[in-house]
């Protein structure tokens, strides 16, 4: 049963990911990306990481993708409008994606592909454990990232403020 769910979820993830890249309308791209994020959340649930799954949906599907959708809706991008791209722009995109691909291959090579095994519920993904680990073992990185967020917030507020003359 778990295996069946896993494989269908994975198929959906890959399919929606491919749709994101290949669909001709930018609106459909964004929507399939949202769907992709949901299926990833499904994977987290399969791994018994409920907290991570829900946070993933809130942050990515709920907040960030809404802004993506916003931009796409307002710009009204068509298939006709993005025909002409400079050569160096394409070259940069291709080389960037190629390098990312290399990194992925390298990391895949170092892993040993074992048989599928159903994850056991060790309680690792439960909120209590995540919280405890964050505030004991990983306190410093947690606080540093919070400072990063704070500075980003202050920066955006400053940018949004009208300049006084």
């Amino acid at each position: 049963m778990d295996q069946l769910i896993f494989f269908s979820l994975s198929a959906l993830t890959l399919l929606s990911g491919l749709l994101t890249v290949f669909s001709r309308k930018s609106m459909y791209s964004v929507l399939s990306l949202i769907f992709c994020l949901f299926t990833v959340a499904g994977h987290y649930i399969l791994l018994n990481a409920h907290f991570l799954a829900i946070t993933h949906i809130i942050v990515y599907a709920g907040a960030i993708m809404v802004l993506f959708l916003f931009v796409v809706m307002l710009l009204n991008l068509n298939t006709t409008s993005d025909k002409s791209k400079a050569f160096y722009f394409r070259a940069a995109a291709v080389s960037g994606a190629g390098m990312l691909f290399l990194v992925l291959i390298a990391s895949l090579k170092s892993t040993t592909l074992g048989a599928y095994y159903a994850p056991t519920d060790t309680g690792m993904g439960v909120v209590e454990h995540v919280g405890k680990r964050l505030f004991t073992d990983y306190l410093l990185p947690f606080e540093i990232s919070s400072i990063l967020f704070l500075s980003a917030m202050i920066g955006s507020v400053l940018l949004a403020k009208k300049e006084k003359k």
């Binding site: 929507l31 409920h50 829900i54 599907a61 709920g62 907040a63 809404v66 809706m73």
Partner: protein, 341 residues
């Protein structure tokens, strides 16, 4: 796989869906009736006794209307919009505990579809996804008014999600759990959260009004400036879905307010009477529904009293008043928990 559990839950899901749809249908009747009595009128009274068959007549009317898809619309997304909206509206009901458990043949029959240990976060997640239905529907209509309505809805939802979440954080801190059942059971007796979190309650209430697109925050569908907002181009049952989902949202939000701040299915003194568990379960459901109905009435009462906000006022209230207040509320709660309790 435990088949009996699966059957139990399926029955519960069906019953909860049926009840939310029924309550939503009669909320439309209630809305018209309350609007009428507040304006010194009578309201629907022709279909059946006291007009009680009015929702049925409305539903039949929606089905019989011509279903128009505008020429420039994106056919697939035009259908997806209302479907998504009503699905997300119904999904929240999964984590709400509707009452004490029934005991049949010594087997416990829980009245909560899923007791997630991240129940509150689940609600936030569904709420944050809820805007997509409106956005997709508004964009797919290929109409400027619909697009404006969709953008307003999305920006309003994002803005008011933040103080909503912060109000929930205070509740989580106070009750030490993310599960709705734990939170409800914490409030047994008369220890309702509203007495400990008055500011949080007010913030939550205002934010639910905004999240449900209800007056005074109904800018996305303001008739006077945007025709009908995101559902300008919709007709027939698709429009019906949009309107219906608003009432389902209202019902679920009322249930949430009742669960989070007003003790859910608990009523002071009721649990200590020593009643038969099944009888207690029935009474607890009735208690919860009485609370829910009161809040639905409050929603309507406010709608027919308070005029609509202007857009810049809406954003000012959201970002400059509610968010700072919600942060202060979290800080106060934290300080109180560390130093006093």
């Amino acid at each position: 796989m435990d088949w009996t559990l699966l059957i139990d839950k399926s029955i519960l899901v069906l019953v909860v869906f049926a009840i939310s749809l029924g309550v939503a249908a009669y909320a439309t009747y209630g809305e018209r009736k309350i609007a009428a009595v507040i304006q010194d009128r009578i309201g629907p009274n022709r279909a059946g006794p006291f007009g009680l068959l009015q929702p049925l007549a409305d539903g039949v009317k929606f089905f019989l209307k011509e279903d128009i898809t505008p020429t420039g619309a994106d056919k697939f997304l035009f259908v997806l919009g209302p479907a998504l909206f009503i699905i997300t509206a119904l999904m929240t009901s999964a984590v709400i505990p509707w009452g004490h458990s029934f005991f049949i043949d010594g087997r416990e029959f829980s009245l909560q579809v899923a007791d997630l240990n991240v129940g509150i976060l689940y609600i936030l997640a569904v709420v944050s996804v809820g805007g997509y239905g409106i956005m997709i529907g508004g964009w797919a209509s290929n109409n400027k008014f619909a697009l404006m309505g969709a953008i307003r809805a999305a920006s309003q939802m994002i803005s008011y999600e933040v103080p909503l979440g912060m109000a929930l954080v205070a509740i989580m801190l106070y009750s030490n759990s993310l599960s709705l059942r734990d939170i409800v059971d914490m409030q047994q007796g008369f220890r309702w959260n509203v007495f400990y979190q008055p500011l949080g309650f007010l913030l939550f209430l205002i934010c639910t009004f905004a999240e449900c697109n209800r007056a005074p925050f109904d800018l996305p569908e303001s008739e006077s400036e945007l025709i009908g907002g995101y559902h300008t181009e919709y007709s027939s049952m698709k429009l019906g879905f949009f309107l219906f989902a608003e009432y389902i949202n209202m019902f679920i939000s009322s249930a949430l307010i009742a669960c989070l701040y007003f003790g859910g299915y608990h009523f002071p003194g009721l649990d200590s009477l020593g009643l038969h568990p099944n009888l207690l379960a029935v009474i607890s459901i009735l208690v919860l529904f009485a609370k829910i109905l009161f809040f639905i009435f409050l929603f309507m009462w406010v709608r027919w009293t308070v005029p609509r906000f202007r857009y810049d006022q809406l954003m000012n209230v959201g970002w400059k008043v509610l968010i700072p207040l919600s942060i202060v509320n979290v800080l106060i709660t934290g300080a109180w928990l560390t130093f006093v309790k």
